[in-house]
Symmetry: D2
């Protein structure tokens, strides 16, 4: 069962064209990812950073937007673990208007595991790899 | 000569990892695009929407991030016209730390020309096509 | 019983000083207000704008911040109807860290009822006034 | 001569009511403050934080909004030093549409000088006090 985060489009998320300002979707991706961490990986994202000193900066991003969202739309952001490499993790995202079967946005980002103190690339620690692989 | 917009990383653009929150780069892309419109295409972006009733929603986005940016970095966002189709326009972006010769971010987005009143796809009007093609 | 909206501080809400960027609190106020509308006034905020063509721009804002919030904090934003005038409504906000009895932020904003088509000030319509007064 | 920062309302700064989302003005205040630091106090705001380890969180905020701003408006944000206390600094802000003589927004925030390492209140260091007092 794939994880979905329930979000609401907010009043301030709209641009001058009356639809969601597209950079907001990357923010929604991240909010959904934070929810994925606590709900599916059983760890708060802030603990990953603060306690385990691991950062996951995005090195690649891709997204297709087939239909706009408006203010008032309730959305669901699906989060998928698409690939777990040595130090990279690819997360997939699909954004649905609630009730729809087809996503309006399909995207993914590749993140790299960093030691937050040295900002150097590290291997994904085992505790994180195991949790990620369970979600694949 | 390629257009570059000079921007500053702002205090509030930073995330908990101490680097620029990656969705902000999509905002920087858009700010640079707005500057590109007035400086290179000789039309304010808001006029495109309000006077000509044309919207340019993003249908595809891709970006590579090779090195993070920090608060205090001055940046230059290069905007390129990469493709002009029937109704789609592809804009390229390269983000440099000021003084660097290599970009830290390389991305592009495909936008589609919409009639803002019907939200239907339309052909790029001639006045816009001509200006875009001059910048290719 | 006062309405409280449960929110989470997000990864991107943090500033370079490592605490919540203070303009984000005004965004939290607004998100909580949107939740207050649907939960307590039984109308979605977007319907107020889109169906009833009423806007509620802020004309005055005041806020005291006694203690910062960090990434990972769960917060509760209390929304109060503090005053209902002829055309103005004052909403109060109190922001708590979950579990705390003392708020860290206390603020309010005065909004004015506008006809969205003319952008002129209007009297608060009865249907809205009655719902607001029930919450005082 | 009072310092003014030239800003442009951006495409994504607009809310569903078609005017600037009011929390964005607090962001504009901060951007103008950052420009004030480098232009009038001769120090980059990020150096205050990173080199001098001083933070200036807002403890009180007040603002009046008399007229909305729209996408396409060029604005000027005036920054004033209104008070320099032992450890608190009050900055005033006035936001003009370019060419106007009357501000549309008048606000101020009280900030408190913190040691970034202990997050304890400290006296304003002399080097900062002297620069601030020159601007009063």
């Amino acid at each position: 069962m794939t994880f979905r985060s329930q979000l609401k489009i907010r009043f301030g998320d709209i641009d001058r064209a009356g639809i969601v300002y597209y950079p907001r979707f990357m923010h929604y991706f991240h909010v959904a990812l934070e929810e994925f961490f606590i709900n599916e990986l059983n760890i708060e994202y802030h603990e990953v950073i603060e306690r385990f000193r691991i950062g996951l900066p995005t090195v690649h991003l891709e997204s297709d937007f087939s239909k706009p969202f408006s203010y008032g739309d309730d959305i669901e952001v699906e989060v998928l673990v698409q690939n777990v490499g040595n130090s990279s993790i690819t997360f997939g995202y699909r954004v649905f208007k609630q009730g729809d079967t087809e996503p309006r946005i399909v995207g993914h980002n590749v993140t790299v595991c960093l030691d937050m103190d040295t900002f150097k690339k590290i291997e994904i620690p085992d505790w994180l790899r195991q949790r990620l692989e369970k979600c694949q």
